[in-house]
């Protein structure tokens, strides 16, 4: 067979990536810890911002405000609902308190978000540095991986926030404006507008996918090659355009593999609980044993799943890092 007619050799095969990643992750528990930090990542609790009440009361706050106490008997006699005293109470609180509370909570949420972004950036950078060290035959350490990550934190944080934010803002503005226009135009134009909105929605989705794909390479370009965030993102996009289907394939396999691994303890737990409740009426002793085992296993499962989360995250990061190092000189320079 003529060699020129053979299909080009792929830059990577999934089995190759998986074998190598498994060796690296298995022998370097430090990577699990960074993987755990990445997996813990951006977990935000957005506090509810209290509504600003309109109040007729004066703005200055008395030292001990006297609230009218509505007894429940009075409420019943007047036919007022039980919530009336509370509505009255809330309206007596001066507006500046609600405004201050609102500002503080918003500031707190933004502050927590900023810390979360920096933390996520550092964890990602440290994980990639650690994997790189392991690939070069060195033993990754927390200290060295962390120091390398510190140098790239600004660019990594930029990558985490800016591309997605810009896309969201632009898409919301454009699509929102067009959607608003549909209320004011004739039916024929409305149909055209709706088609345009759908098409723009698909364009947005296209960019969202490519931002995700580009970011995978960009993170590695920042940490391993010292590129800036913006430069890495555009370079990552160029690589992602050439390797789209390979990336989607690897991403899908990674996702399915992670789900299958994580499902094992969950399935065992589910079976134990199911068995326990199924036998509850007929074989009480067996039911009790199964439920006790399920509770014990459940507690262990929490620990196991946490650790698995770290291992799976570091494993996936490792596959991408090995893939990057394969294509680095070919596409990414």
């Amino acid at each position: 067979m003529d060699e020129h007619n053979l299909p080009p050799k792929p830059d990577w095969t999934i089995s190759e990536l998986y074998n190598k990643s498994w060796k690296i992750v298995k022998n370097n528990p430090v990577l699990w810890i960074f993987g755990l930090a990445v997996a813990a990542g951006v977990g935000l609790n957005f506090s509810n911002v209290d509504r600003i009440f309109d109040s007729d009361t004066k703005n200055s706050l008395p030292a001990t405000p006297s609230f009218q106490n509505f007894t429940n008997g009075q409420s019943d006699a007047l036919g007022i609902s039980a919530t009336a005293p509370w509505t009255n109470f809330l309206s007596q609180i001066p507006t500046w308190i609600w405004v201050t509370l609102g500002i503080e909570l918003v500031a707190f949420v933004i502050f927590a978000l900023a810390i979360s972004i920096v933390s996520s950036a550092w964890a990602n950078g440290s994980l990639i540095s650690g994997i790189d060290a392991a690939l070069e035959g060195k033993k990754p350490t927390i200290r060295e991986s962390s120091e390398k990550s510190f140098k790239s934190i600004k660019s990594l944080a930029w990558l985490t926030v800016v591309p997605g934010l810009v896309l969201t803002l632009v898409a919301s503005l454009v699509l929102g404006t067009l959607a608003a226009f549909t209320a004011f135009v004739p039916s024929a134009v409305k149909v055209i507008l709706i088609i345009v909105i759908i098409l723009l929605g698909l364009v947005t989705y296209y960019f969202a996918i490519y931002i995700t794909l580009s970011r995978i390479w960009a993170l590695r370009m920042v940490v391993l090659d010292g590129k800036g965030g913006k430069e890495a993102l555009f370079a990552g996009y160029r690589v992602a355009k050439k390797k789209t289907w390979s990336m989607i394939g690897l991403g899908l396999v990674n996702t399915i593999a992670s789900i299958m691994v994580a499902l094992v303890p969950i399935a065992i737990l589910g079976l134990l609980f199911f068995g326990g409740f199924a036998f509850a009426k007929s074989v009480t002793v067996l039911s009790t044993i199964l439920i006790t085992l399920a509770i014990t296993f459940g507690i262990l499962a929490v620990i196991v799943l946490m650790l698995l989360g770290g291992i799976i995250t570091s494993f996936k990061a490792s596959t991408w890092t090995i893939a990057y190092k394969r294509i680095r000189n070919k596409y990414a320079s």
Binding site: N72, A82, W86, I93, I97, L101, A107, F111, I115, S146
Partner: protein, 190 residues
Amino acid sequence: MTNYRPAGFWIRFLASTLDWVILMLPTTLLALYITNAASLQELLYRLIIAVIIWWVPSAFFTTLVYGPWFISKTGTTLGKYFSGLKVTNDEGQNLTYKRAFFRQNIGYAFSGSLFGLGFLAVAKDPEKLGWHDKATGSRVVITRTLWPLTLLVFVILFSLQGYFWSQAIKQVTTGPIIKEVTQFFSSPTF
């Protein structure tokens, strides 16, 4: 670099616990203020005031000032000061504010991520370094042997706060508020 001894797990644990007790003091005093209300509505009002003047600002104070700023300027927090400990870099100098901020916030979260293993690592590590120390290039050293003072301060503050909390609980359970709550829940309209 001055040759101070690295601080082990227990003295660091004691210093951190003392820090926690010190930071809890305003919360304890506010709890007394809140539970001294004459009615449920006044209690809620005082609770809102407490959130505004301390609980939300304290989150900023703790994350920006108490740990990071004090450690970058003096190498220590109040708890560590009373324990004779100091946080330094590898050259024995104070950390920069950025490093101290990272250590006290993200570093601590990192050490605590796997059931506190990063903190327990101090006990096993030959240089007595936790994960947050390794991540930021910091170390905690003993500058003076003060653990009896630490224990004394801890016991005094802990007992004082325990007393205040018991008073706060007593105010709620024996005052007019519990009667109002019981009346509210036992009313036919509820």
